[in-house]
């Protein structure tokens, strides 16, 4: 599985959205399922999936799928 697929899967699992909904425009607080509770589930999922530790700035900045890719790139996840 590519890291992009891994990332998409993490979104599907954590937010409970359909795979086709996971695209760059998918945004925090705009999709009904991506609320603050789901956000923390997503963070935990990304941390265990990619074995990284995100800091509080990352959590606040991760406001869309596109942003998530940017932030994970800092942690050398190649997408």
């Amino acid at each position: 599985m590519s890291q992009l697929e891994q990332l998409k899967n993490a979104f599907v699992t954590a937010l409970g959205v359909e795979e086709y909904e996971v695209k760059d425009e998918l945004a925090y607080s705009e999709h009904v399922k991506w609320d603050s509770t789901a956000h923390m589930v997503l963070i935990a999922e990304l941390e265990s999936e990619f074995e990284i530790m995100l800091d509080t700035d990352d959590i606040i900045d991760m406001s869309s799928f596109a942003k998530a890719k940017e932030i994970l790139a800092k942690y050398e996840v190649r997408i």
């Binding site: 607080s29 509770t37 923390m40 530790m53 995100l54 800091d55 509080t56 700035d57 606040i60």
Partner: protein, 356 residues
């Protein structure tokens, strides 16, 4: 929509001296008053009936809304289809406040809360023990103040563990496991003051259980009303926690659902501190004039964050006292103050009096 300057949220949380901070607040709070005057009918009516003129006004001259108005009315400066979330107070006594947010306001609140807390906790997240039940945040229909607090603070945690079960009783197995796993790490503990005291600290004491944490920080808030009934003050609270849990640095905070995102954290010298985006004034309870430092009166909270509802200047029903400005021994700039509980019911003036 209200436009904020992009630099506003990059200001240092406790690093702007009085002259600059007050000039910023004068500017933004007057702009917000104009904004709400144009977008919220009730706010316009209240302003008009008091024959209030915004021109040449400073922050401290603006008319505060009585906190109780948010219980009686749904005050909003946004179109109903832009509504993203309603926050409501826990409503321990009577009706709950309703605060209406659009998506931008909700995001801005989280961002500012994170900036304030980063000044105390750093950017790294810590293993986190929440002194509450996981079901508190799952209650549907609006968001309670307690749920908002738990969720807001969760951003600073990892390996979240709820210390209480669904009946709000201590889950000793979970807590012991959490402490055993993380006792040598910097742990974050968060909860509401009375719940921490009664359901956690007292419950541990009754079982005769002590822990020896190496480096923990406890953040708690929600008021001292019930604590005073049990004759527990800040000092006794801190002592008991350290006796029970080990090396814990304990910080109270003051904040309210009407201005979520802003919290006033207690420093190591025991004072609550205003972050750069908000300010407090003390008003004499008899004539609502602005009181001098040291005098006890009603607390008014001003915040630049309230753009979707007219809550930028709110007169609370809490009593407090400003100790000083920019000169706390802890080194943080801004006003620092103490809260002395709530005004007795009979003394609370109606909202119309605020506008007299």
């Amino acid at each position: 929509m209200f436009e904020y300057s992009s630099e506003l949220f990059n200001l240092p949380v406790y690093g702007l001296a009085k002259a600059e901070k007050q000039a910023m607040l004068d500017r933004v709070l007057v702009q917000l008053s104009h904004h709400h005057y144009q977008h919220c009918n009730q706010y316009k009516n209240l302003t008009d009936c008091s024959h209030f003129d915004f021109s040449d006004k400073k922050a401290q001259d603006l008319l505060p809304l009585a906190a109780r108005l948010f219980k009686d009315f749904s005050l909003s400066s946004i179109e109903s289809d832009a509504e993203f979330r309603q926050m409501r107070s826990s409503g321990t006594s009577g009706q709950a406040s309703k605060i209406i947010l659009d998506a931008e306001s909700a995001k801005r609140q989280s961002k500012v809360l994170v900036k304030i807390l980063q000044a105390w906790l750093g950017k790294q997240r810590r293993p986190m023990l929440l002194i509450d039940s996981a079901s508190t945040v799952k209650t549907a229909g609006g968001m309670s103040a307690r749920a908002a607090g738990l969720q807001g603070l969760s951003f600073f945690g990892r390996n979240h563990c709820y210390a209480l079960n669904d009946d709000m009783q201590l889950d000793l197995d979970k807590v012991s496991e959490f402490f055993n796993q993380f006792s040598q790490q910097p742990i974050l503990i968060f909860g509401f003051t009375f719940i921490v005291w009664q359901q956690f600290i007292q419950a541990l004491a009754k079982k005769g259980l002590k822990f020896n944490l190496d480096n923990a920080i406890l953040i708690h808030g929600g008021g001292w009303k019930k604590m005073q009934q049990e004759a527990v003050d800040d000092e006794l609270f801190k002592q008991t926690i350290r006796a029970q849990l080990g090396n814990v640095s304990v910080h109270d905070y003051y904040g309210m659902v009407e201005q979520t995102g802003t919290i006033y954290m207690q420093c190591e010298h025991g004072y609550l501190h205003t972050p750069v985006w908000s300010d407090i004034l003390i008003r004499n309870s008899d004539d609502l004039s602005v009181a001098s430092f040291g005098e006890i009166g009603l607390i008014q909270v001003n915040s630049v964050l309230a753009s979707s509802y007219p809550g930028h200047c709110i007169l609370t029903e809490d009593l407090g006292q400003i100790i000083g400005e920019d000169d706390c021994q802890c080194g943080r700039l801004g006003k620092y103050f103490k809260v002395h509980g709530r005004v007795p019911k009979a003394q609370v003036r109606g909202c119309s009096d605020t506008f007299a």
